[in-house]
């Protein structure tokens, strides 16, 4: 039995997105990757749209410390407190949920539970979720992310690798995007160029 490795914990949550703090510093899931967490009676799927590493205290600026160090690892070795004063987190856009093994590509009835664990989705889960591409609409319409086209393209590239023939998946996704963005050719072109 494969034991799932939790990577983070939800610390801010809403119907459309959640913020999760990673357990390991500087070890955030890739942009556009898919994660899963728990909601009330369902599993919630999100796509990582931004991640950051910063001071745990908003007012404390991080200073450069490596001038005399020979490697980046030496900075942490010489300053062991840093690992406790910095944290990495990411925000994920909610793109669907599952209940009783059925997948729904629309927002769940309630947000992800606060402090619920976050797991990186396995390739099997991603493949299963992307059998349908209705969720793309949620990503296109989202106003959360500053570079939505980058996130959409990153996710599609990442998801394509879970399918037997990645190119076929990308063509299917391209058609879906063409349909959704039929009145915005500039944006469609921008996404397609990134696939």
């Amino acid at each position: 039995m494969v034991v799932e490795q939790k990577i983070a914990e939800v610390i801010e949550t809403s119907n459309s997105e959640f913020l999760a703090e990673c357990y390991d510093l500087d070890n955030v899931p890739a942009l556009g990757s898919m994660v899963r967490t728990k909601g009330k009676g369902c599993q919630i799927y999100g796509i990582v749209y931004v991640s950051a590493t910063h001071s745990i205290e908003p007012g404390r600026r991080i200073a450069a410390r490596g001038k005399a160090a020979t490697s980046e690892a030496d900075v942490f070795k010489a300053n062991p407190q840093l690992a406790k004063l910095l944290c990495s987190d990411f925000k994920a856009l909610v793109v669907g949920h599952s209940q009783d093994k059925a997948i729904y590509q629309y927002l769940p009835p309630s947000p992800a539970s606060i402090y619920s664990f976050v797991y990186a989705c396995s390739p099997v889960e991603v493949k299963q979720f992307t059998q349908s591409l209705n969720f793309l609409n949620l990503m296109i319409e989202s106003r959360s992310t500053v570079a939505p086209d980058e996130v959409i393209a990153a996710f599609l590239r990442y998801a394509s690798l879970t399918h037997p023939v990645p190119e076929e998946f990308l063509v299917k996704a391209g058609k879906e995007l063409a349909w959704t963005l039929s009145n915005d050719m500039r944006r469609l072109d921008s996404i397609l160029k990134r696939l």
Binding site: E57, R60, A63, R65, F76, K77, A78, N79, P80, Q81, L82, A83, K84, L85
Partner: protein
């Protein structure tokens, strides 16, 4: 209406002008202090005796090493630990109906070397009820802890937290325990506190914690030291006053300079601080000679008699205080010196462990407000009457 800063501006200008006019006078005094220090012969027996015999009005440093000594730091051990402690408090607020106070102790444990690690803790304790909020004597006397006494109590608890952490550890690595400020309980000096208060805060409080460090030395190198940034002390300059003083034995108030407030022979170095003298005599990372404090309260310290040295860092001269048993042991003294230089280097001029301990301990204005709101809420939920003075209410609600 708040402070009218435009009115203050001209006064600040006048102050700056006044300071400027004394600059060249001060530079001369400083130069003379440094020349005097350098002129003292290595055996310095005459000055030592003069200090021992003196009845001076100021606090004079005791000489333990050659006064002009300057020594570079040895390298830090390969593996070692630094544990630092700092504290904050919320004092008793007489405008609140509930009498209580809160101490927040910040503790930081940093391990360097092959297994770097860090532990950062914030340990708040609420003191409430008669038992926790007073110091009592065996014969029924009591002193309520608040104001200055609370500040002293906090110092004891900072040190207790430090000793708990160091003595509770299972490692045998060399460890330096650091506190911010002085090892000398200045709050008790010159105050007319009953002996039971001094006994409980100093003998049974602070010094008992020093004992724990001292006793730990059988098992591992363990020292306690305090760090004073930008010190305003002049103990060494006062020793130079004695060197300059034409009288021997020195008896300032009763004989030699009775009634004189200025114009004394030794005033040629008056107003100069130790840090200024050593800033020009030490190189970066070097320490001065070790001196002993001769404050009246030190008599109670026994084996923990406070000694100190000055340490030149890139941007300031700091004062480091250690107990006598550290000062008398070269290996322990070298450990303190090396570790503090390293800590300052890592903390951009101030020991990083102390800086983080402060961050763990700090209680902001917003924290205080939230604390009192929480106290009121919990009291109300428990159907307890919450009263506050009308003055307090008037401050919260600004009427027009």
């Amino acid at each position: 209406m708040t402070l009218d800063i435009t009115q203050v501006y001209s006064q600040i200008e006048a102050m700056a002008g006044d300071l400027k006019s004394h600059q060249s006078d001060y530079a001369q005094k400083l130069e003379l202090a440094q020349t005097t220090l350098k002129s003292i012969p290595p055996h310095q027996d005459r000055l030592k005796k003069k200090i021992e015999d003196a009845r001076a009005t100021w606090l004079v440093a005791g000489l333990k090493e050659e006064i002009s000594l300057h020594r570079a730091a040895v390298p830090c051990p390969d593996d070692f630990m630094v544990v630092a402690s700092d504290g904050s408090h919320i004092d008793v607020d007489r405008h609140h109906s509930t009498r209580l106070f809160l101490l927040n102790i910040g503790l930081v444990e940093l391990q360097y070397g092959s297994k770097p690690d860090a532990e950062l803790l914030s340990l708040p304790t609420l003191y409430f009820g008669d038992e926790m909020q007073a110091i009592r004597s065996g014969d029924g006397k009591q002193a309520l802890i608040e104001g200055q006494l609370l500040g002293i109590k906090r110092g004891v608890e900072e040190c207790r937290g430090l000793a708990d952490r160091v003595c509770g550890g299972e490692t045998d690595l060399p460890v330096v325990g650091l506190i911010d400020g002085s090892l000398i309980m200045w709050g008790l000096v010159g105050q007319r506190y009953d002996d039971f208060i001094v006994e409980q805060l100093l003998d049974e409080g602070l010094l008992k914690q020093f004992d724990r460090f001292y006793e730990l030395n059988g098992k591992r190198k363990a020292v306690i030291a305090s760090y004073i940034s930008f010190p305003r002390s002049a103990d060494v300059v006062n020793a130079l006053r004695l060197q300059i003083c034409p009288y021997d034995p020195v008896d300032c108030d009763n004989k030699n300079c009775k009634g004189k407030f200025e114009g004394r022979g030794c005033d040629v170095v008056g107003g100069v601080l130790d840090r200024a003298v050593f800033a020009g005599m030490l190189s970066d990372g070097e320490r001065s000679a070790v001196f002993s404090s001769r404050s009246s309260i030190i008599e109670r310290y026994g084996v923990h008699q406070v000694c100190f040295f000055y340490l030149k860092l890139e941007e300031e001269v700091a004062r480091v205080e250690v107990p006598l048993w550290v000062a008398d042991n070269n290996k322990l003294l070298d450990l303190v010196h090396a570790v503090i230089v390293d800590q300052c280097h890592k903390g951009f001029g101030y020991p990083v462990s102390l800086s983080e301990a402060h961050e763990q301990a700090v209680v902001t204005g917003a924290d205080r407000e939230q604390f009192w709101d929480l106290v009121d809420r919990v009291m109300q939920e428990g159907s307890l009457a919450v009263q506050q003075s009308l003055k307090q209410r008037s401050k919260k609600t600004k009427w027009l």
